[in-house]
Symmetry: C4
Subunit: 236 residues, 4 copies
């Protein structure tokens, strides 16, 4: 695995135009749809267009991610209100994207609904997080330089009140400054990165780890001593 630098400041993110970003989000939609991570119009994606004033390119609500077109991407301001000429309803979870961008300085935010993310987040209602350690794949997370890393992924209870949920997400991010992602319980994954490519890499790595841990949970090989114990659901 390659090593990736720790969180860069947003000053390093080169300016890009809206149509180029829209095309990239459409391509990500196709790739994630092919993997089964955005079924049933679920999932939403955003990229920071500018910081001052804050502007995000974000997927419109209710769009099939496998058939999305550039016209399904719109721009919002720092209150999640649409700006610009494309008239569409932004994703209901736009406030969560804004919260992540503000607290982490992220350049891109991706939200997916995967089978294994859902199973792991649902499997222990009393616990507030997932710990994953010892896997080489962890080195694909920004700033991680060794497989001897322990990643804590907070699990936040799902909520339909987006203002309240954004507040809980903000506090969770502050309490877990090293986390590269969080899970909404029985809902899905949020992760981010300095660039859209970084955020996509984080999705791929975390989904790989979720599936590895999920499939390992009942695994007892012939001739082996037991299961795989490098993922756990716990409080922290």
């Amino acid at each position: 695995m390659p090593q990736f630098p720790p969180h860069l400041t947003f000053a390093l993110v080169p300016p890009r135009n809206f149509s180029s970003i829209s095309r990239d989000l459409v391509a990500i939609g196709r790739r994630f749809y092919a993997r089964g991570w955005v079924q049933g119009t679920s999932g939403n994606f955003s990229v920071v267009m500018s910081r001052k004033p804050l502007r995000l390119a974000i997927t419109a609500s209710s769009v099939h991610k496998g058939q999305m077109r550039a016209e399904n991407i719109l721009q919002i301001d720092d209150s999640a209100a649409p700006v610009g000429s494309r008239r569409a309803v932004p994703s209901a979870e736009a406030r969560l994207h804004l919260e992540i961008v503000r607290r982490r300085g992220a350049g891109a935010v991706l939200h997916t609904h995967s089978i294994w993310g859902t199973i792991l987040s649902a499997s222990a209602p009393q616990r507030d997080g997932l710990k994953i350690d010892g896997f080489e794949m962890l080195k694909g997370l920004a700033g991680v330089r060794t497989h001897e890393h322990s990643e804590h992924i907070p699990i936040v209870d799902n909520d339909q009140d987006m203002v309240r949920l954004a507040g809980v997400v903000g506090e969770t991010l502050d309490r877990n400054p090293d986390a590269h992602a969080f899970l909404l319980r029985r809902h899905g994954l949020y992760t981010w990165g300095d660039t859209l490519a970084d955020a996509e890499r984080h999705v791929e790595i975390l989904e790989f780890l979720f599936e590895t841990i999920g499939r390992s949970a009942t695994f007892r090989p012939a001739g082996g001593e037991g299961g795989v114990h490098h993922g756990s659901i716990e409080n922290f």
Copy 2:
């Protein structure tokens, strides 16, 4: 997840022509084939062309859904008899499509045969339904506005007598007015929507939930208290 409106009346469905609908059904066939939901020529799809008189565009019998062409779509009347110039045998299950269209005012009906739908429908021969609750993904079902929703999916015993089975399906739909779908035991899923896009979204959501519940059934994570308990097979 976006929120979708409750069942619209059919007056809102815009008129569309047969060749456009045929192309859309061919595209759905390719997508479902890629996911493994219509193996071995299984599955059948329909769209309402007109209400008075009732006309459905429906897939012909015995067609490979991954290689289907527009010529494999035909039109039937309210007795499941072919009408129009394309001469082909309609799906043997056309009567079930008609029953759903009449009882629910659906604009499109999709039937799939998935691994997980088959496993769940087969897993408890004495039970008459599947209950799924607490998942964000449920919000993709028309009219559902919160993850705190409990979806009851009736399981109907399979039957080769299509007239008799259509009768049982009709009664089941009437007894479960809020159901968005039903399963035929050891056979597959029927779901529907105001539009073909709505019906496809329902297939994707229900298959996601079937797989999540199916994979969770033996899941016991290290460090967690137990499995996932947001799906069950029960009588209702």
Copy 3:
């Protein structure tokens, strides 16, 4: 599910030319490769070109099925010797194809190596077959008209001596006149049909059923009474 006619006599198979058949086999190779059924150059496919004299179009040995080209298909005679202008080594298992064509009057034979077929064939070394009953998907097998069908799939011990193995396969086919397929233990599936499309449909149906039964083997749903009991490994 549609109903398919029982085994037709070969007189009904229309004559087709070699380049058309080669193209069809190449397309099947791509589809099966995408599903993971012919990894590592495994699997081989054949179509009857003529009966008198017996000529088969068959995949060459050691070809990657996802990257196969028409030039990788050759013709063999009734002793598995290559005939015609394309010079290549036929599949080592050509004798098994010939045995099936002779005993069943098949027009096409397909051999795949799937994960679930391998697991099921390996799971009970003392047993000589797999029984599958009660699934609608069974109706896709030629001549089966109801889900209340019990399909017996013989499991034959693997053997590197192709003359000896062809003899055992021949006896097995004679002892199981209703079987639509057999498994070679820890090796893979053989199935066939009057046409190549019939044989492909049989592969898709049997792989669906293998995966359904395989995944069901440890399945115990919350709220249900127990696992799925419509597949078993037994002697017959």
Copy 4:
């Protein structure tokens, strides 16, 4: 399954040009990405360009394998230093590729990160290898002529010190002269071949076997005596 010759000497590998090799590596990246074996920019691939002096074409560090282009392949010398006009950082694991090329005379080396390889390598921390026997698919490994073959796949502890790890890999290769591959613990698979096609075939075969053994670990069929016992984690 076809039979493949034992390790050829490198004299038999025909000379090929860099742009042709780069295109082949790009195509392998797409195929492996589609299978989920190189998520999150993981994995790296190399091909021997010349022996004297030793030159490898190898994937650059941190490249998304599904979107890789020919420009992402560079050349390195026998100390893993880049040579030639393309300026990029070679994969951090280039030294492992060189070690394999030297000890085995391999013409191509492929490294993948799969779910099942990770699970198997993680499942028994005290054991130093995986034994697989009795599967027809083993015949796809170079030089193996019967399914009655027992393949020992060493498991090497992961290490971020590439010089030290290369030393351990070299010793492991010498101690296991018949091994076609090794696993890095909680990291991934290394395999190789005389040609790139041979190495890709080895990846496909080993991933098939890992998944078969992994899925078999909890498999207890109805009517069968027990699980599949043709894979084990053990010391050797």
